[in-house]
Symmetry: C2
Subunit: 314 residues, 2 copies
């Protein structure tokens, strides 16, 4: 059995797992990122945490096939040009890593890692073509074609959150307007909830947040909608309408076998799937022909580590 190490680098913590070739985590280690530091000591702590996980698995570094890391950014030719929340800019990660071990380090976007993990050991295992969406603070995404991650010829693809779905629409954090992320992320759902509460209508959203918009969460909206609160239902209908439009765009573009929903909002489970599947047919271009199934992600927070670990193999 081959062993890999997967690193999930976030703004708050460095999470590491030793992963078998079939996607099982057999040992772990975790340390704080302390992202306000320069990147050099962060990379040193990444290496330390990775070696700690290897020791916890009662293995040595020579037993590891490859290291992999998912970052909230991208990596092109061994350099991380951007890494959101860590304030990294043009970090030569592969060169820096080579100071700690001769074993290779593969680096990719965190949503790409999660997409790969689901395609190897999760809901889309055995499915040739899939698109993974994380409905979180932003809208992360990863594209798998014929079992392989595709982030394109220049490494700038698989960014479905920044496809424009509303010309002159809502301003996005990226500087453009009308990006899909502004309509289908958990942040978008929260915004819709806050807007719906603002007119003073009696709603469970008001009760659950004690009227404080800053306390609104995706879970509050989903729970209230599940319980039948009229305002929350309307908000969730609008949100899933947007999500169905995003899914139409994926189908009309590359027609994958499966579209996988992960991230915070996906915890709404079957309730989310039902609402999306109800709306999808009216957006499908070729009415009546088969198209991608929409499914829930299975690996949850583990996906980042598992996918990162297996980057070197796929």
């Amino acid at each position: 059995m081959k062993h890999y190490v997967g690193i999930d680098l976030g703004a708050t913590s460095i999470k590491v797992g030793v992963v078998t070739e079939d996607g099982k985590i057999i040992a772990r280690a975790e340390n704080p990122t302390l992202a306000d530091r320069p990147w050099q000591p962060v990379v040193e702590d990444i290496a330390k945490t990775a070696f700690q996980a290897v020791a916890n698995a009662e293995l040595s570094v020579s037993d590891i096939e490859a290291f992999g890391m998912g970052v909230p950014g991208i990596c092109v030719d061994g350099v991380i040009p951007f890494c959101t929340n860590l304030h990294w800019h043009n970090v030569p990660i592969n060169e820096a890593w080579s100071k700690y071990t001769d074993k290779p380090l593969f680096v990719d976007n965190d949503a790409n890692c999660a997409a790969l993990a689901e395609a190897i050991a999760g809901v889309s295992a055995g499915v040739p073509d899939s698109v993974f969406l994380t409905l979180g603070t932003g809208l992360g995404s990863g594209i798998i074609i014929e079992g392989k991650l595709r982030s394109g010829g220049h490494g700038v693809g698989g960014e479905l959150g920044h496809i424009i779905v509303q010309i002159d629409g809502i301003p996005c954090t990226c500087g453009k307007r009308g990006c899909l992320e502004r309509y289908t992320s958990a942040t978008a759902l929260i915004r819709l909830g806050v807007e719906a509460m603002a007119d003073g209508t009696d709603t469970a959203l008001h009760t659950a947040t004690e009227g404080d918009p800053s306390r609104m969460t995706a879970k509050i909206i989903v729970d209230a909608a599940k319980a039948g609160d009229r305002v929350a239902v309307q908000v969730f209908e609008k949100y899933t309408e947007y999500l169905a439009i995003g899914i139409n765009n994926i189908i009309s573009f590359i027609d994958p076998d499966m579209i996988v929903l992960g991230g915070g909002v996906s915890r709404a489970g079957q309730f989310l799937l039902d609402k999306v599947n109800e709306k999808l047919p009216k957006y499908i271009f070729f009415k009546g022909l088969p198209h991608a199934k929409v499914m829930l992600a299975r690996l949850g927070n583990e996906a980042g580590i598992i996918g990162a670990a297996l980057l070197g193999e796929h």
Copy 2:
């Protein structure tokens, strides 16, 4: 040298070419489609025209590797479920074809054929990943990944014209609203021109059409914009803004190596490319990183026949 036969099936004519493996047309034949007939005699005329082209090449059917046909619709598992303008519905084309020859017939969407032709013998030859757009009556498209056509797991992908770029936008012929086709086809350019002329401003568009909106063409707008007519320039700026948004969506999605523009509006040439390239940077998500080049198609109307011919090889 291997020989193939490519058929370009349109609402008005059946155009056939005998094509070499490197994408050169060495003989032709053409007959009217007479699309008001039932599909059976149309298929008979397709076969006749194809055999006529083979005879014109001084070859016999046994010298042909494969036949291919591009249709204004799609083909799934040997059946054409939809074919615009020909009123075809669930036509079992492969079964029908087998009455005329044992040689296989490969059928695909006409824009897919043009995309393949450009990728084999045109501007994107040797480029692994490209996306082809035809800026015509509609917005046709074809996606090439690693040299191969990709219309997805169910054959319903590569329909970029029906990606939604404006939630609740302009009604589309497909029944949805805000499809990219409504903003970036030649039809969209003409609509923008007609709208701009409607307020009675003095413009070359008015002169060229003698004030008759039904005489507006993409060429009239492009010529007037090139000549510096203020209204036409504004129209073309708006159109290329929409096209830049569509191109951003392609780059953020699959980040191809090249995006190829074909169809009527692409005859505007370098003037079109300059306007699009000027606007693209502000829509690019990863500022400053390399991304797909936007290029003009090279094969013009030949692309349909050449790509159809080579379907069997790719």
